[in-house]
Symmetry: C2
Subunit: 397 residues, 2 copies
């Protein structure tokens, strides 16, 4: 029997169809099936797209629902890292409560799966991991969450961090994180050997923040490519931010793109307008998987962001100067299918047999949905309506 | 007598106050005045900011309310210009109706004054000017509109355009427009002599689209500075876009900034993320007036944009990497006081004696208003409530 029948929707902006859902999966897309449905939903002619994938955020450190944080932080990356550690103790920031707030906000905008990097350091220990894991358990029916153990403050320069990373992986974090092997740990070989060593020992994937630009970032990326090749980790490594791919020199960028493509390494971009960014169109041409994320939203790092991954598609489109209707879907792909591929999610898509994770968006065409990001969406996760009219159907503290 | 008393608002995010309005001007800000008010409005503790200034858009060419335009246009600037002329005839685009639609959308977001560039060319003639003038007359109580006669398709390369520009200025366009003196007319001296010649003969200001980058844009900007100095036009010239100021070489950029500051030339930026852009913080330090605009929204050029000038402040802040609460107001200034200064609007501001043009925004702090651009605003223009809950209080075709 059909659990949920969504009538009168246009999958990917195409012809009107019905989507029949049973046991949390899409049973059929097309004419409404005979027989009763436990619940029916009139899609009102809206466009259906697969659930949005938030491939990079920091659920543990947003300040949603807390007093506005007056940012007076210095301009360097290390200023922001040091300030955050101090503020986390001062405020304090409750990772369980805050991650639930952001997860609910994400769902309200149409996200059905989130990858979050969670700080692991010698001051906070694994408290952030435990907090986000509590949210993951509490919201298991509403949204998927996977966790990267993230050595935000450095891995080797703060002794004890490596052991905490191991603890985080044993507790339930899925993926090994890393950050700027040159700029933070000041030891690119040591940092990456430690990160990939953990990945090998625990049998996990890797997701590395790489803010380093130009030749320095290119060098770190080469080291990541070498290790991915040596360990046969194709499909299990993401380089996040990857600002070095936004360098203007093709002689620097093209060999990196070839190395990423050959070794199945995905790129995560936020499309930030103030830094050089990976060229989405060129990466797609080269066969590199591109996913996207909000990064931190409304935290001690910065005041921006709202966890809306359809708005992220708009920003990616603007940043990459995608104007044509045949180019705009590249921006959406990074926030849907590209995210699912990069994160290795199985059963993802708007097809019979896939998990029933989808969003309804009021727009005339797919291009309009991407460029104008209409609000008041409906989110369905595993066949359950989890957000309606742009509001989550569940409450958090 | 007070015509409108707005209670319980926080001007610029400060202490709670009342704003008393009489005869379209702010009579007092502070304690509610004694005596009756014809109308009272509870501000609900919202922040009051002065009316948003849209300093650069194209009211005549948006496609709001029309079927989604499937963009398949080539990548060059001239591809877009030529495509637009062809599409304007094909569709057709009614400048009167479309300008009214966009003006109403602007007001719904909090804009109280708009500068629009309106195409003047040998195909459309001055029909665009006439259409926008009809909207200006129809909406005179709702929003201020000033018009730049804009030779989008070139001034000298299309004979007859100069005469049409003169006709536009006689009809009621206030300002002389220009565009890329090298790239379009292929004759920078000829183009700028014609533009500034019109300005001198008609006693008008100048507003030039300058997309040219690097050394070429710098050369054109030098020619603009020279003519502004020679004609004593300080305070009456805007360079729009000015991508050359986003070049990485201080040796190229700094002399230009000094020339702009010395000669009272303002810069208009959209903060576009896909091109080099003028550095807002550096320009403010140097004393150059910076204003901002949406540029074209949802037209044959591109699918983006919604005419929200508070969102423009968010985008400017992101583009210029403004994160601190003491830096964010720079982004808002470009969309308020900077716009008023650049356009030469008199009586602008959130002070007693100024025109009662203001917006109410639900936010805890000014930083939150800028970075998070909350919706459902109330717009007041000359003491009249023209938008409530984010919707215009008047209808257009």
């Amino acid at each position: 029997m059909t659990d949920l029948l969504i009538r009168n929707v246009r999958p990917m902006g195409g012809d009107v169809a019905a989507i029949a859902i049973a046991d949390g999966r899409i049973a059929a897309i097309g004419a409404p099936p005979p027989g009763p449905a436990a619940r029916e939903l009139d899609g009102g002619g809206r466009i259906a797209i697969p659930g949005l994938i938030e491939a990079h955020t920091h659920l543990d450190k947003n300040l949603l629902g807390m007093p506005w944080y007056r940012n007076a932080v210095g301009p360097k990356l290390t200023d922001r890292i040091d300030n955050e550690r101090a503020e986390r103790k001062r405020m304090p920031i409750d990772a369980r409560r805050q991650s639930a707030r952001q997860a609910a906000l994400s769902v309200s905008h149409g996200t059905t799966h989130i990858r979050t990097h969670v700080d692991v350091d010698t001051e906070t220990g694994v408290a952030g991991i435990e907090g986000v894991m509590a949210t993951r358990a509490a919201l298991a029916d509403q949204v998927g969450i996977d966790i990267v153990a993230f050595p935000q403050s450095g891995l080797l320069i703060r002794p004890g961090t490596l052991e905490l990373m191991e603890q985080a992986l044993r507790l339930g974090a899925e993926t090994v994180g890393g950050i700027d092997p040159c700029a933070i740990d000041r030891d690119p070989k040591g940092h990456l050997d430690a990160v990939f060593g953990l990945a090998e020992r625990f049998g996990r994937g890797v997701d590395i923040h790489l803010h380093e630009t130009g030749e320095l970032g290119a060098f770190s990326m080469e080291l990541i490519i070498e290790r991915t090749r040596a360990l046969g980790m194709a499909g299990r490594v993401i380089v996040s931010h990857a600002f070095c791919l936004g360098a203007p020199d093709p002689a620097l960028v093209e060999p990196l793109i070839a190395g990423l493509a050959e070794n199945g390494i995905a790129i995560m971009t936020t499309g930030t307008p103030s830094r050089p960014v990976p060229p989405v169109k060129r990466l797609a041409q080269a066969g590199v998987t591109v996913c996207a994320g909000s990064d931190g939203i409304r935290d001690t790092w910065g005041p921006y962001g709202n966890a809306d991954m359809l708005e992220r598609a708009t920003l990616l489109g603007m940043r990459n100067n995608l104007r044509r209707d045949d180019e705009l879907p590249l921006a959406l792909a990074a926030c849907t299918t590209g995210g699912a591929a990069a994160l290795g999610l199985s059963g993802y898509g708007l097809e019979a047999g896939c998990h029933a994770d989808l969003v309804l968006v009021e727009a005339e065409t797919l291009g309009e949905a991407i460029a104008q990001r209409p609000g008041r969406r409906t989110t369905v996760r595993r066949g359950r309506v989890v957000a309606e009219s742009g509001a989550a159907c569940f409450s958090v503290e």
